[in-house]
């Protein structure tokens, strides 16, 4: 694994800053970032702009799918990743976090490890297609962030995915 030094320092800084002594009472509402987890939304720009995140998501294709319990890339996935690599070569100002996900048919810990395998498969492939390793990071969400919520194969097949989530400038998750 090649590490992104700058991002590593960022994580350490966050960890120090995050400590607190508050005891949390009865809740209040918190927000989540809808652009995370490979969901639609966020400031993606226009799909007609070939340098935009929206274009990458919709025209290039930001995700690849996997078979049950597998992390191997099929032909469709490799084609998508070839296009991603090409786009990243043309848009060097972007970095990316590759999210690995699993469907809900599995234990929590195993699915975390499986999601990591999937994200890594994409990471290694993109690097093999010329994307600089220091532009990429991987994260696993296991079964924590399904895209489709039914409990059938039609949903599971969409949830067994790795999503290349772009960020302009730096790797701030």
């Amino acid at each position: 694994m090649k590490h992104v030094t700058k991002a590593g320092l960022l994580i350490a800084a966050l960890a120090v800053g995050a400590c607190s002594n508050n005891r949390f009472g009865d809740g209040g509402t918190e927000t989540i970032d809808p652009s995370a987890y490979g969901l639609n939304g966020g400031a993606a720009g226009s799909v007609s702009d070939p340098t935009s995140i929206a274009y990458f998501q919709q025209a290039v294709g930001d995700r690849v799918l996997f078979e049950v319990d597998q992390s191997t890339l099929n032909d469709v996935a490799r084609n998508t990743l070839n296009a991603q690599a090409q786009w990243l070569a043309q848009n060097p100002e972007y970095t990316a976090v590759i999210e690995g996900h699993a469907d809900e048919q599995g234990t929590r810990e195993y699915n975390l490890a499986l999601g990591a395998r999937r994200a890594n498969a994409v990471n290694e492939y993109l690097i093999s297609r010329g994307v600089a390793a220091n532009r990429l990071k991987t994260v696993t969400y296991g079964k924590e962030r399904p895209l489709e919520i039914c409990s059938e194969e039609s949903c599971y097949s969409q949830n067994r995915r790795a999503v290349t989530v772009l960020a302009a400038g730096g790797l701030s998750s």
């Binding site: 694994m1 995050a18 490890a113």
Partner: protein, 445 residues
């Protein structure tokens, strides 16, 4: 005298090597006693009249404490309460002699009496346990004191004492559960750590829901919790102090993801999974020095480690054979031997506090099960079956397993359930909303 209809069996679970399904045998005449085994099919009938309020301030506590004791004992599945409507006599004073005939007449084999006094915010509970059919007290009277807002704990302590005297095993009622409280839709679930009494009372939140949190685990003394959080954007193991909710991240390996932490039995070491380059292996970290050590080194997934109570071995799951299976290795790593041999996939093994069994999640033919097996993998038994059961945790006495059960579909929700290791007494544990990933504390002091 214990009545003959109370069936007992050899204490198979407590002693290794004895047949798992011991045939029920009739009790010998003798003192009040439940031998806890699979053979127990008749819960012990008991009465617990409202405790005596020794002053006006104690009135409500006296009634509520008796109710919590009844909930504990009946909830264990080993006791059956004779309702107050059946009483033909009342207890009017803690120190007046017990009229055994009055309780024998309504078939109460055990009688629990008690008294409560409140002085300011100080509450004192005394109780006695009687073996009605022997016409004698069972053990000495006991007294517990504490603040009025810890009244439920004092009730649980009485329940633990009763349970222990009748079964010969320690109880589990004065204990807590740390878990993940969930809200929101399935594709954007918000999760936060929460802690509560074992019976769902006194819920408090330990984190907010700004980051996904997973799988909290108690320290051996119950004062600290390990868990996984996405606070940094990546899954990382954290250590949290329950009293102050102060927390710190463990380790600083850039680019790594860590999860599935558990304490060693001495509380000084954390065993966990670390993922680098897509490969997940098992590591330990010394909490005092931060020194990290790699225990497995394989291209397969190695995760969900759990120490044996003596700290000498670790059970974990690995897919090195092609599917998830359970393995046991020395606590310092090295050669691992596979212990799960049945059909299907096995994960999340947890060593029982008694050391005799390993609880696990099993996935087979589209169903999930919680099961137990001997530490060598023999005598596997499945206790539950559903769309999704996972993540067992042991009661402090090794008698009960709590776990996550999730329903299927777009509106599927997780909840906490418990089941006796006999497979009986399956029930939902009350939580304020959806809940997952329970971890049971040791008995409190």
């Amino acid at each position: 005298m214990i009545r003959s209809k109370l069936l007992i069996a050899a204490a198979a679970l407590a002693m290794g090597g004895v047949a798992w399904f011991a045939a029920p045998v009739k009790a010998q005449n003798g003192p009040l006693r439940i031998e806890i085994t699979d053979g127990v099919i008749e819960p012990l009938p008991y009465a617990v009249p409202d405790f005596i309020a020794e002053n006006a301030a104690a009135t409500e506590y006296a009634r509520n404490i008796a109710r919590v004791i009844a909930d504990d004992l009946t909830g264990s599945g080993l006791f059956r309460e004779i309702p107050a409507s059946a009483y033909i006599a009342n207890v009017t004073s803690f120190d007046s002699p017990v009229q055994y005939a009055d309780w024998k007449a309504i078939n109460a084999e055990a009688l629990i009496t008690g008294a409560v006094a409140v002085d300011g915010n100080r509450l004192t509970v005394k109780f006695r346990l009687f073996d009605v059919f022997s016409g004698a007290p069972l053990g000495k009277g006991l007294q517990f004191s504490g603040t009025t807002d810890s009244w439920r704990r004092m009730a649980h302590k009485v329940s633990d004492a009763v349970y222990s005297r009748v079964t010969g095993e320690s109880g589990y009622f004065d204990s807590r559960v740390v878990f993940v409280s969930e809200s929101g839709p399935k594709d954007a679930r918000q999760k936060r750590l929460a802690i509560m009494d074992y019976d769902g009372a006194n819920v408090q939140y330990l984190t907010d829901s700004s980051a996904i949190v997973l799988a909290p685990r108690f320290s051996p003394t119950g004062d600290r919790v390990l868990y996984t959080s996405y606070e940094t954007g990546f899954p990382r193991v954290y250590l949290l102090d329950v009293a102050t909710v102060g927390r710190r991240i463990l380790g600083d390996q850039a680019g790594a993801m860590s999860f599935a932490p558990r304490f060693s039995p001495d509380g000084g070491t954390v065993v966990f999974s670390l993922t680098t380059g897509g490969n997940t292996d098992i590591y330990t970290m010394n909490l005092a020095t931060g020194q990290q050590r790699r225990l497995t080194n394989a291209p397969s997934i190695e995760t969900a480690p759990s120490y044996s109570p003596d700290g000498r071995q670790i059970v974990f799951e690995s897919d090195r054979s092609g599917t998830q299976q359970l393995y046991v290795m020395d606590a310092n790593g090295g050669e691992a031997r596979r212990i799960s041999m049945g059909e299907g996939r096995y994960g999340t093994p947890v060593w029982s506090p008694r050391g005799d069994l390993i609880a696990f999640t099993k996935q087979n033919k589209g169903r999930f099960h919680i099961g137990v097996m001997r530490t060598n993998g023999s005598e596997e038994r499945l206790l539950t079956s559903s769309f999704l059961d996972e993540g067992p945790t042991w009661s402090p006495n090794g008698r009960v397993i709590m776990f996550t059960r999730a329903t299927s579909g777009a509106n599927g929700q997780p909840a906490l359930y418990s089941v006796d290791i006999s497979g009986r007494n399956l029930k939902r544990v009350p939580t304020p909303g959806a809940a997952s990933d329970p971890a049971w504390s040791p008995l409190q002091n």
